[in-house]
Protein backbone atom coordinates (compact mmCIF):
# COMPACT_ATOMS: atom_id res chain seq x y z
CA UNK A 1 0.00 0.00 0.00
CA UNK A 2 1.35 3.45 -0.89
CA UNK A 3 1.31 5.65 2.18
CA UNK A 4 3.12 8.89 1.35
CA UNK A 5 2.81 10.88 -1.84
CA UNK A 6 4.60 14.16 -2.47
CA UNK A 7 3.89 16.17 -5.62
CA UNK A 8 5.41 19.47 -6.74
CA UNK A 9 5.45 21.12 -10.14
CA UNK A 10 7.86 23.68 -11.55
CA UNK A 11 7.39 25.96 -14.56
CA UNK A 12 10.38 26.27 -16.91
CA UNK A 13 10.51 29.20 -19.34
CA UNK A 14 11.89 29.03 -22.85
CA UNK A 15 15.35 30.60 -23.30
CA UNK A 16 15.62 31.78 -19.69
CA UNK A 17 19.20 30.75 -19.00
CA UNK A 18 19.43 32.74 -15.77
CA UNK A 19 16.70 30.68 -14.07
CA UNK A 20 17.06 27.40 -15.97
CA UNK A 21 18.49 24.86 -13.58
CA UNK A 22 16.54 26.29 -10.63
CA UNK A 23 13.84 23.59 -10.82
CA UNK A 24 16.49 20.86 -10.68
CA UNK A 25 18.14 22.59 -7.71
CA UNK A 26 14.78 22.80 -5.89
CA UNK A 27 14.13 19.11 -6.56
CA UNK A 28 17.60 18.28 -5.22
CA UNK A 29 16.90 20.21 -2.01
CA UNK A 30 13.52 18.49 -1.59
CA UNK A 31 14.99 15.00 -2.08
CA UNK A 32 17.89 15.73 0.28
CA UNK A 33 15.43 16.94 2.92
CA UNK A 34 13.51 13.68 2.46
CA UNK A 35 16.73 11.84 3.30
CA UNK A 36 17.30 9.92 0.07
CA UNK A 37 20.71 8.36 -0.66
CA UNK A 38 23.15 10.77 -2.28
CA UNK A 39 23.71 8.55 -5.36
CA UNK A 40 19.97 8.38 -6.01
CA UNK A 41 19.62 12.16 -5.65
CA UNK A 42 22.56 12.61 -8.04
CA UNK A 43 20.91 10.43 -10.71
CA UNK A 44 17.60 12.30 -10.40
CA UNK A 45 19.44 15.65 -10.56
CA UNK A 46 21.43 14.76 -13.70
CA UNK A 47 18.34 13.48 -15.54
CA UNK A 48 16.15 16.40 -14.41
CA UNK A 49 18.77 19.00 -15.31
CA UNK A 50 19.04 17.58 -18.84
CA UNK A 51 15.26 17.67 -19.23
CA UNK A 52 15.07 21.19 -17.82
CA UNK A 53 17.73 22.44 -20.23
CA UNK A 54 15.94 20.74 -23.14
CA UNK A 55 12.80 22.71 -22.22
CA UNK A 56 14.80 25.96 -22.03
CA UNK A 57 16.81 25.39 -25.22
CA UNK A 58 14.35 23.64 -27.55
CA UNK A 59 10.77 24.23 -26.41
CA UNK A 60 8.25 27.05 -26.01
CA UNK A 61 8.31 26.40 -22.26
CA UNK A 62 7.05 23.59 -20.11
CA UNK A 63 6.64 22.00 -16.74
CA UNK A 64 8.56 19.58 -14.53
CA UNK A 65 6.54 17.54 -12.05
CA UNK A 66 8.13 15.67 -9.15
CA UNK A 67 6.11 12.83 -7.62
CA UNK A 68 7.52 10.81 -4.74
CA UNK A 69 5.87 7.82 -3.12
CA UNK A 70 7.21 5.08 -0.88
CA UNK A 71 8.77 3.16 -3.76
CA UNK A 72 9.62 5.57 -6.57
CA UNK A 73 10.69 9.06 -7.50
CA UNK A 74 8.97 10.08 -10.73
CA UNK A 75 9.90 13.05 -12.90
CA UNK A 76 7.37 14.08 -15.54
CA UNK A 77 8.28 16.58 -18.25
CA UNK A 78 5.59 18.23 -20.33
CA UNK A 79 6.52 20.94 -22.82
CA UNK A 80 4.48 23.05 -25.21
CA UNK A 81 6.26 22.13 -28.42
CA UNK A 82 7.52 22.29 -31.11
CA UNK A 83 8.05 18.55 -30.64
CA UNK A 84 10.65 16.19 -32.06
CA UNK A 85 10.51 15.33 -35.78
CA UNK A 86 12.65 12.18 -35.59
CA UNK A 87 12.73 10.58 -32.13
CA UNK A 88 15.07 7.75 -33.16
CA UNK A 89 17.66 10.25 -34.41
CA UNK A 90 17.22 12.51 -31.36
CA UNK A 91 17.89 9.60 -29.01
CA UNK A 92 21.35 8.92 -30.52
CA UNK A 93 24.23 10.07 -28.30
CA UNK A 94 25.97 13.03 -29.92
CA UNK A 95 23.01 14.13 -32.07
CA UNK A 96 21.83 17.67 -31.40
CA UNK A 97 19.74 20.36 -33.08
CA UNK A 98 21.12 23.11 -30.82
CA UNK A 99 22.11 26.37 -32.49
CA UNK A 100 25.72 27.58 -32.69
CA UNK A 101 24.93 30.08 -29.94
CA UNK A 102 23.81 27.25 -27.63
CA UNK A 103 26.84 25.13 -28.52
CA UNK A 104 29.17 28.03 -27.66
CA UNK A 105 27.52 28.11 -24.22
CA UNK A 106 28.40 24.45 -23.71
CA UNK A 107 24.94 23.08 -24.48
CA UNK A 108 24.06 20.84 -27.41
CA UNK A 109 26.51 18.00 -26.75
CA UNK A 110 23.75 15.60 -27.77
CA UNK A 111 24.04 13.83 -24.42
CA UNK A 112 20.71 14.89 -22.92
CA UNK A 113 18.52 11.87 -23.67
CA UNK A 114 21.51 9.58 -23.20
CA UNK A 115 22.09 10.92 -19.68
CA UNK A 116 18.37 10.69 -18.85
CA UNK A 117 18.17 7.05 -19.98
CA UNK A 118 21.38 6.17 -18.16
CA UNK A 119 20.18 7.62 -14.86
CA UNK A 120 16.50 6.60 -14.80
CA UNK A 121 15.25 3.05 -14.20
CA UNK A 122 12.34 3.71 -16.57
CA UNK A 123 12.46 6.26 -19.41
CA UNK A 124 9.54 6.97 -21.73
CA UNK A 125 9.41 9.68 -24.38
CA UNK A 126 6.42 10.72 -26.48
CA UNK A 127 6.56 13.53 -29.01
CA UNK A 128 5.02 14.73 -32.24
CA UNK A 129 6.30 17.49 -34.50
CA UNK A 130 4.41 20.76 -33.94
CA UNK A 131 3.00 19.35 -30.72
CA UNK A 132 4.65 18.98 -27.32
CA UNK A 133 7.06 16.45 -25.88
CA UNK A 134 6.26 14.37 -22.81
CA UNK A 135 8.90 12.45 -20.85
CA UNK A 136 8.32 10.12 -17.92
CA UNK A 137 11.28 9.04 -15.81
CA UNK A 138 11.03 6.70 -12.84
CA UNK A 139 13.75 6.04 -10.28
CA UNK A 140 13.32 3.05 -7.98
CA UNK A 141 14.15 3.98 -4.41
CA UNK A 142 15.07 0.49 -3.19
CA UNK A 143 17.64 -0.40 -5.87
CA UNK A 144 19.35 3.00 -5.66
CA UNK A 145 20.13 2.98 -1.97
CA UNK A 146 23.76 3.66 -0.93
Amino acid sequence: MIINIHKTSYEVASRDFIRSGDASKSIKKTLNQMGFASQLVRKVCIATYEAEMNIAIHSHGGEIILIVDDYTIAIQIIDRGPGIANIEQAMKAGYSTATNEMIEMGFGAGMGFYNMQKCANVFKLESKKNEGTKIDMIFYIECNED
Binding site: F17, I18, Y49, E50, M111, N115
Partner: protein, 114 residues
Protein backbone atom coordinates in the same frame (compact mmCIF):
# COMPACT_ATOMS: atom_id res chain seq x y z
CA UNK B 1 43.41 20.63 -0.21
CA UNK B 2 40.69 23.03 0.84
CA UNK B 3 39.48 25.89 -1.35
CA UNK B 4 40.84 28.35 1.22
CA UNK B 5 44.28 26.72 0.96
CA UNK B 6 44.23 27.16 -2.82
CA UNK B 7 43.41 30.82 -2.24
CA UNK B 8 46.67 31.24 -0.29
CA UNK B 9 48.34 30.93 -3.70
CA UNK B 10 48.49 34.51 -5.04
CA UNK B 11 47.62 33.35 -8.55
CA UNK B 12 44.03 32.74 -7.45
CA UNK B 13 41.34 35.31 -6.67
CA UNK B 14 37.99 34.61 -5.07
CA UNK B 15 35.30 36.39 -7.12
CA UNK B 16 32.22 35.45 -5.07
CA UNK B 17 30.86 36.55 -1.69
CA UNK B 18 29.71 34.33 1.20
CA UNK B 19 31.58 31.39 -0.33
CA UNK B 20 32.18 28.15 1.52
CA UNK B 21 35.97 27.94 1.23
CA UNK B 22 36.31 25.33 3.98
CA UNK B 23 35.24 22.62 1.53
CA UNK B 24 37.81 20.01 0.51
CA UNK B 25 38.80 19.69 -3.17
CA UNK B 26 38.92 15.95 -3.90
CA UNK B 27 39.40 16.05 -7.63
CA UNK B 28 39.79 18.28 -10.68
CA UNK B 29 37.45 18.12 -13.66
CA UNK B 30 38.18 20.02 -16.90
CA UNK B 31 35.46 20.29 -19.56
CA UNK B 32 33.25 22.92 -21.20
CA UNK B 33 30.39 20.71 -22.44
CA UNK B 34 27.79 20.93 -19.69
CA UNK B 35 26.05 17.59 -20.35
CA UNK B 36 29.39 15.84 -20.34
CA UNK B 37 30.30 17.49 -17.06
CA UNK B 38 26.92 16.50 -15.58
CA UNK B 39 27.48 12.84 -16.33
CA UNK B 40 31.18 12.58 -15.47
CA UNK B 41 32.32 15.10 -12.84
CA UNK B 42 32.61 13.89 -9.26
CA UNK B 43 31.35 15.67 -6.18
CA UNK B 44 33.73 18.01 -4.35
CA UNK B 45 35.75 18.53 -7.51
CA UNK B 46 37.26 21.80 -8.66
CA UNK B 47 35.72 22.38 -12.08
CA UNK B 48 37.89 24.28 -14.56
CA UNK B 49 35.89 25.77 -17.42
CA UNK B 50 35.94 28.67 -19.86
CA UNK B 51 32.13 28.86 -19.68
CA UNK B 52 31.11 31.84 -17.55
CA UNK B 53 27.30 32.15 -17.99
CA UNK B 54 24.91 31.68 -15.07
CA UNK B 55 24.06 28.07 -15.87
CA UNK B 56 27.48 26.84 -14.71
CA UNK B 57 26.29 27.59 -11.17
CA UNK B 58 23.38 25.14 -11.51
CA UNK B 59 25.73 22.41 -12.77
CA UNK B 60 28.18 22.95 -9.89
CA UNK B 61 25.46 23.05 -7.23
CA UNK B 62 23.67 19.96 -8.56
CA UNK B 63 26.93 17.97 -8.47
CA UNK B 64 28.07 19.31 -5.06
CA UNK B 65 31.28 20.67 -6.54
CA UNK B 66 33.86 22.32 -4.29
CA UNK B 67 34.39 25.32 -6.59
CA UNK B 68 34.56 26.58 -10.16
CA UNK B 69 37.89 27.90 -11.47
CA UNK B 70 37.94 30.18 -14.51
CA UNK B 71 41.39 29.99 -16.14
CA UNK B 72 43.58 32.28 -18.24
CA UNK B 73 42.19 35.58 -16.97
CA UNK B 74 38.75 35.16 -18.51
CA UNK B 75 36.16 37.60 -17.13
CA UNK B 76 33.00 36.36 -15.43
CA UNK B 77 29.52 37.91 -15.76
CA UNK B 78 28.23 39.70 -12.66
CA UNK B 79 24.96 37.71 -12.87
CA UNK B 80 26.95 34.47 -12.57
CA UNK B 81 28.84 35.74 -9.51
CA UNK B 82 25.58 36.90 -7.88
CA UNK B 83 23.95 33.52 -8.43
CA UNK B 84 27.01 31.66 -7.11
CA UNK B 85 27.17 33.90 -4.03
CA UNK B 86 23.51 33.07 -3.30
CA UNK B 87 24.49 29.38 -3.33
CA UNK B 88 27.72 29.92 -1.29
CA UNK B 89 29.59 28.44 -4.27
CA UNK B 90 33.18 29.73 -4.67
CA UNK B 91 34.18 30.93 -8.15
CA UNK B 92 37.90 31.55 -8.50
CA UNK B 93 39.74 33.41 -11.20
CA UNK B 94 43.34 32.92 -12.25
CA UNK B 95 45.71 33.80 -15.09
CA UNK B 96 47.08 30.25 -15.00
CA UNK B 97 46.28 27.62 -17.63
CA UNK B 98 44.13 24.55 -16.94
CA UNK B 99 47.29 22.40 -16.87
CA UNK B 100 48.96 24.66 -14.29
CA UNK B 101 45.83 24.78 -12.10
CA UNK B 102 45.38 21.01 -12.15
CA UNK B 103 49.08 20.53 -11.37
CA UNK B 104 48.88 22.74 -8.27
CA UNK B 105 45.89 20.81 -6.89
CA UNK B 106 47.42 17.46 -7.85
CA UNK B 107 50.69 18.28 -6.10
CA UNK B 108 48.83 19.27 -2.97
CA UNK B 109 46.53 16.24 -2.95
CA UNK B 110 48.85 13.48 -4.18
CA UNK B 111 50.03 12.43 -0.75
CA UNK B 112 46.62 12.77 0.89
CA UNK B 113 44.37 9.73 1.15
CA UNK B 114 40.84 10.58 0.04
Amino acid sequence: MKVKELLLNKNFTLLTKNSDTEIQINDVYICDLLSWVMSHAGNQCAWITVQTHTNIVAVAVLLDMACIIIPEGIGVEESTLKKASEENLPILSTNLSTYEIASIIYESNKNVTK
